[in-house]
C-alpha cells in the first residue's frame, strides 16, 4: 500500500505492507533512527512520536493509520537538524541530566513536548502522571521530571519541595488505581 506521511515537515511516500508499523516506517523506510522500540506491548514509550500533534506510541500504530497525517519525531524539533538543542525540552534534558543511556530519550522528549503543550501549568505530580506511559531504567525519573518542569518554565526545586510535603497521592492514571482513564 502506498502511504503519504508528512514527517518533520517533509512529504514522504512509500509502498509498504499494510502491517508495517509506523515505528518501522520511520526507522527503516525513512532512516530516522532516533525513535526506538523498547517493548512489544505499548508499555515503554521509547517509540513515542507526535501524530498531528498528539503523542502516540509508534510501535502500535500502523503506518497506514498515519497516512495523510503529519508526524514529528525528535529529529524534527527545533535545531535538531543542525545538531543543536534549539527546543526548550531538549535544552532542559541536557541541563538537568534527564538522560543517561539515551534509549528512552527520544520518546520521553516527545511525550514531554506533548504534555507541556496540553498543560502549560504543570506541577511535579502532573509531570509524573503525564509521563506514566514512558519508562526509563536509568534516571529514576528524578531529573526527567526536573527537565520537564524547567522546559515548562517552572522552578523544579520549588515544585519538588511542594510535592514532597503534599498529601495528595500520585497515581498513574488507569494503572495504579485500576479505575481507567478518569
Amino acid at each position: 500500500m502506498k502511504v503519504e506521511i508528512t514527517v518533520n515537515g517533509e512529504h514522504t511516500s512509500h509502498d509498504v505492507e499494510p502491517r508495517t508499523l509506523l515505528a518501522h516506517y520511520l526507522r527503516e523506510n525513512l532512516g530516522l533512527k532516533a525513535t526506538n522500540i523498547g517493548c512489544d506491548t505499548t508499555s515503554c514509550g521509547a517509540c513515542t512520536v507526535l501524530v498531528d500533534g498528539e503523542a502516540v506510541k509508534s510501535c502500535t500504530v500502523l503506518a497506514v493509520q498515519a497516512d495523510q497525517q503529519s508526524v514529528t519525531t525528535m529529529e524534527g524539533l527545533d535545531g535538531a537538524a543542525q545538531g543543536e538543542l534549539g527546543h526548550p525540552v531538549t535544552k532542559a534534558f541536557r541541563q538537568e541530566h534527564g538522560l543517561q543511556c539515551g534509549f528512552c530519550t527520544p520518546g520521553m522528549v516527545m511525550a514531554a513536548v506533548s504534555l507541556i503543550e496540553e498543560n502549560p501549568d504543570l506541577t511535579e505530580k502532573d509531570v509524573r502522571e503525564g509521563l506514566e506511559g514512558n519508562l526509563c531504567r536509568c534516571t529514576g525519573y528524578h531529573n526527567i521530571v526536573r527537565a520537564v518542569l524547567v522546559a515548562a518554565g517552572k522552578d523544579p526545586d520549588a515544585a519538588q519541595a511542594a510535592e514532597a510535603v503534599s498529601d495528595e497521592r500520585t497515581m498513574a492514571p488507569g494503572f495504579s488505581t485500576g479505575k481507567g482513564d478518569q
Partner: protein
C-alpha cells in the same frame, strides 16, 4: 579553578537529543549492507526432549534464505562459567533437550525482519515434555535433573566451607532471631534489548557489532566459543542502551550470529524482541536466605549467620559466582565478633542468572539489614540506635571483616546520623506514634539502612591512552565501556584538568577492540576508580613527557618548566612572557601520546545510609514510598550531575525491587512476567523525587580518593524501603514480608498476624 567536582553538562547529550544515539540496531554501517535478519525460534517449554525439528515449510517461506537447527550447528556446547559443573554446558542451538522457556532451537535467516517472524512460526518442533523443576529447594533434592549426566543440580563446589561452626555459635547470646527470607529474582530490563550484527572480511576476520558492557572480554569469550584466535575477531560497540550488569560479557547469541554470517557468506543482524529479552537475557538476584542473628538485650550483636541458596537458572553463568560477594559482604557495616555463611548454587528450569546492579552485594545488605530490624524489634530498640551501636568505628579502619573483606575507609555512624537528621527522624517517629495511637488507616513506616559495598572488585587493572593532536584537540582511549554513565564527559574532565585543554576539545573513545585491545569494561561500579584514575595518570604522564620535549625547545631544565593550564602551554616557571610552547605545537613535531595501565590492586568500599518513609493503607495493603533520604559516600565527587544521576537510577531500582518487581515462573517453568505489561518496572508515577545528602570520604586505594557509585543507590534503598513497609505494620504483629511488597502480600501479612494474635 579546578574543573573537578563541578557540574559539567554531558558532551554526549547534543547527539543523543537531536538525531538520537546510535544503538546496534540503528547501524547503517556499509559493512552491514544487505545483511540478513536472524530470527530465533525459541522453546515454549521449560523442560523437554526434542524428537524432531521440521524446517521444510519455513525454508520455503517468502524471503527465507536459510534455516539452521542444532543438527547443523558445529559450535561445541560451552561451559558458560568456568567454576560450574563441567557437564552443565549450553548448546548454541538446542539439539536433544531444552532446559528453559526461551532456549534457542533454530535460526531463521530472511531478507526482511517481518519475514523472519512469519517463517519462525512455521518451524515445527516436536517436543516431549519433561517434568520441570523451578523451586530451588525442590531442585536441591535432585529428583528432576536438568543434566542427567551430571547426576545433580548442584552447580559448583566453589562456595564450600572447610568446617562448620559448632552448636555453640549463638550460645553466648541472650536473644537469637532466625528466619528465611527471599531475595526475589528480578530482570535488569535495559530499554535496549540484546542485539548483535556480524560480517566476515575478505581477510578472514570477523567483526561483531553488539551491545555489551565490555568489548574486550566479550571478544575473548566469543573467540573461545568459536575456536578462533581472538585477534581474528573485532568487536565494535555502538551506543549501548543500558546494561545494569546483564550485558556483562558476551551472550551465546553473539557467537551464533557470527557463525551464521560465516555460514551464509553474508552479513547478518539480530535484534531481540522484549519478550525474548525477558526470557533470554540473564536475570538477577534469586536467593533464598536463612538469616540468624544473636546478641544481648542491650543491643550488642554478637553473632550472625547467613545461609544462601542461589538460583543459577538452566545454564550456569556469572550468577554462580555472586554468592561470593554476598558472603564477603555478609556482616555489612557492623563489627560482629562471629560471622558465618554458606552458599549453595542450584540449576533450575529457568532463565540463567548473572549480575544485576549490585550483583551479590545487595543480597548481603538486604539480609543483614532485615536481620538488624528483626533483632531491634525483638529487643525493643530503635533500629537506627541499634545500627549506630554496632557499626565499625572510624578509628578501626582499615578494617578486616569476618567476611574476609578489607574495608578501606568509612564513617558509618556519621552517615546514619546525616540521613536521620535530613529526614527529621525523631519527628517522623512522633508522627508514626500519633497515627498508631489514632489507629489511622494510613500508617507511617520508617526504614533505615546502613550499607557498605565493594566496588572495582571484579577487575583491578584498567588502561587509558591520552593523545594531544597538532590541532590542539585530544583523544582519550579507555578500556571502560559506558552505557549511560557519562564517561565521555567525566574522562574528558579528568584529562582537561591536567592538560589545560577544554573538555569540548577532548574526544573519548571506547569499545572497539582493534583500537583498544585490552580493557575490562564497565561493571561493578569500577570505572572511575580504575579507568578514570588511568586517564588521570596518563594525562599527568603526558604533561611530564611534554616538559621533557619542551626542555629542548625552550632551552631550559625540565625542573624549571610547568604546564600553564590556562593556555595549554609549557612555560618556564616564574618567567611570564618568556618563551613557551603549546602541547599542540609539541604534538606537531612528534606524536604526543601516552598509554598508561593502572593497577588498583584492591577494591574500594563505598558506604552510606538511607532513610525511607512509606505510607501503608492497612485496609488495602497498598504501600506507597513517600520520601527517601540517601547518604551515598563514594569519595570525592568528580561531577555532581553524573554522580547524583547514578544515585537516582540506583535508588529507583532498589525501590522497584522492594515494591514492584519479580520475575515469576509457574510450577512448570512458564514465565508469567515475559512482557513489560506483566513485569512491574516503575514509571515516574510510582516513584517520588529523591532527597540526596552529600558525604565524601576518600579511599586510600588510589591517589584521587575515588570509589564507585553506580550500584550504591540500589544497595541502600532496597532494604530501607523494605524495612519501612514492615515497620509501618509491625505494631500489628507483622515481623517480615518478602519482596515485592505488593498490596496482596502486605494485606495478607497483616491478616495473618491478626489471626495469630487472636489465638
Amino acid at each position: 579553578m579546578s574543573i573537578l567536582g563541578t557540574r559539567v553538562v554531558r558532551t554526549e547529550d547534543p547527539v543523543f537529543l537531536t538525531r538520537g544515539a546510535t544503538y546496534t540496531d540503528d547501524l547503517t554501517d556499509e559493512r552491514l549492507t544487505g545483511a540478513l535478519h536472524v530470527t530465533l525460534v525459541r522453546s515454549p517449554l521449560a523442560h523437554a526432549t526434542i524428537n524432531s525439528i521440521d524446517v521444510e515449510e519455513a525454508r520455503n517461506a517468502p524471503g527465507v534464505v536459510a534455516v539452521f537447527t542444532g543438527a547443523d550447528c558445529d559450535i561445541a556446547p560451552a561451559l558458560l562459567f568456568p567454576a560450574a559443573n563441567k557437564q552443565m554446558v549450553r548448546p548454541f542451538l538446542a539439539t536433544d533437550r531444552v532446559r528453559y522457556v526461551g532456549e534457542a532451537v533454530a535460526a531463521v535467516l530472511t531478507e526482511e525482519a517481518y519475514q523472519g517472524e512469519d517463517a519462525a512460526d512455521l518451524v515445527d518442533v516436536d517436543y516431549e515434555p519433561l517434568d520441570a523443576v523451578v523451586d530451588m529447594k525442590e531442585a536441591l533434592k535432585d529428583e528432576v535433573l536438568l543434566f542427567p549426566e551430571a547426576g545433580t543440580n548442584s552447580v559448583t563446589a566453589m562456595h564450600l566451607n572447610k568446617d562448620e561452626p559448632g552448636d555453640d555459635f549463638f550460645a553466648d547470646c541472650e536473644v537469637v532471631v532466625s528466619r528465611e527470607i527471599v531475595n526475589q529474582r528480578v530482570a535488569a530490563a535495559p530499554l535496549e534489548t540484546r542485539a548483535a550484527s556480524a560480517y566476515w572480511g575478505e581477510d578472514g576476520r570477523c567483526t561483531i557489532f553488539c551491545s555489551t558492557q565490555n568489548a574486550q572480554s566479550a571478544r575473548d569469550e566469543v573467540a573461545g566459543w568459536l575456536g578462533m584466535d581472538a585477534k581474528d575477531l573485532r568487536l565494535i560497540l555502538p551506543d549501548v542502551g543500558g546494561g545494569f550488569g546483564a550485558k556483562i560479557g558476551a551472550d551465546p547469541e553473539f557467537a551464533l550470529v557470527a557463525w551464521l554470517s560465516k555460514k551464509v557468506g553474508r552479513p547478518v543482524r539480530w535484534n531481540e524482541s522484549r519478550s525474548e529479552n525477558m526470557t533470554g537475557m540473564v536475570q538477577g538476584r534469586g536467593q533464598l536466605q536463612t538469616i540468624t542473628i544473636g546478641g544481648d538485650r542491650d543491643g550488642t550483636v554478637k553473632a550472625y549467620r547467613l545461609d544462601v541458596v542461589a538460583d543459577a537458572g538452566a545454564y550456569p553463568r556469572l550468577g554462580v559466582a555472586l554468592p561470593m560477594f554476598t558472603r564477603m559482604m555478609a556482616p555489612g557495616t557492623y563489627d560482629i565478633p562471629k560471622v558465618w555463611s554458606t552458599a549453595k548454587v542450584v540449576a533450575t528450569n529457568t532463565t540463567s542468572t548473572a549480575a544485576y546492579r549490585g550483583a551479590g552485594r545487595p543480597e548481603a545488605t538486604q539480609a543483614i539489614e532485615r536481620a538488624m530490624d528483626l533483632f531491634a524489634d525483638e529487643i525493643g530498640m530503635d533500629p537506627a540506635e541499634l545500627r549506630k551501636k554496632n557499626v565499625i568505628k572510624p578509628e578501626q579502619f582499615p578494617f578486616t571483616t569476618k567476611g574476609g573483606a578489607e574495608y578501606d575507609t568509612g564513617e558509618y555512624a556519621k552517615a546514619i546520623d546525616l540521613a536521620c537528621k535530613a529526614a527529621n527522624y525523631e519527628g517522623l517517629r512522633a508522627e508514626q506514634a500519633r497515627r498508631r495511637e489514632r489507629g489511622d488507616a494510613l500508617q507511617l513506616g520508617i526504614g533505615v539502612s546502613s550499607y557498605v559495598e565493594i566496588t572495582g572488585g571484579g577487575a583491578f587493572v584498567e588502561n587509558a591512552t591520552v593523545q594531544v593532536h597538532p590541532d590542539g584537540t585530544v583523544t582519550v582511549l579507555t578500556g571502560t565501556s559506558p552505557h549511560g554513565q557519562g564517561h565521555a564527559t567525566a574522562w574528558a574532565m579528568l584529562a582537561s584538568e591536567e592538560l589545560g585543554i577544554p573538555v569540548e576539545k577532548i574526544t573519548v573513545k571506547h569499545g572497539d577492540t582493534d583500537l583498544i585491545p585490552t580493557g575490562a569494561g564497565t561493571m561493578g561500579s569500577r570505572s572511575l576508580q580504575t579507568g578514570g584514575v588511568a586517564v588521570h595518570n596518563a594525562a599527568v604522564e603526558l604533561v611530564e613527557l611534554a616538559k621533557q620535549r619542551a626542555a629542548d625547545v625552550l632551552e631550559a631544565s625540565v625542573d624549571d618548566l610547568e604546564l600553564d593550564k590556562a593556555t595549554g602551554s609549557i612555560v618556564v616557571k616564574g618567567a611570564p612572557g618568556a618563551k613557551s610552547v603549546s602541547l599542540a605545537d609539541l604534538a606537531g613535531t612528534e606524536e604526543l601520546k601516552v598509554f598508561h595501565e593502572w593497577d588498583a590492586k584492591k577494591p574500594t568500599f563505598p558506604f552510606g545510609a538511607h532513610v525511607a518513609v512509606v505510607e501503608v493503607d492497612v485496609e488495602s495493603g497498598k504501600a506507597t514510598v513517600e520520601r527517601i533520604w540517601a547518604v551515598d559516600d563514594a569519595g570525592p565527587i568528580l561531577n555532581p550531575l553524573i554522580f547524583d544521576g547514578q544515585r537516582h537510577g540506583g535508588i529507583a531500582q532498589g525501590i522497584a525491587q522492594a515494591m514492584l518487581e519479580e520475575v515469576v515462573f509457574d510450577s512448570e517453568g512458564q514465565p508469567l512476567t515475559a512482557t513489560f505489561a506483566d513485569y512491574g518496572i516503575p514509571s515516574a508515577a510510582e516513584l517520588p523525587s529523591f532527597d540526596l545528602v552529600t558525604m565524601e570520604t576518600p579511599t586510600t586505594i588510589n591517589s584521587m580518593g575515588y570509589k564507585g557509585v553506580g550500584e550504591a543507590g540500589t544497595i541502600g534503598s532496597c532494604p530501607a524501603v523494605h524495612n519501612a513497609v514492615i515497620d509501618a505494620v509491625s505494631h500489628l504483629g507483622v515481623r517480615h514480608i518478602d519482596m515485592p511488597l505488593t498490596p496482596v502480600r502486605v494485606w495478607t501479612a497483616i491478616h495473618e498476624a491478626q489471626k495469630e494474635s487472636a489465638k
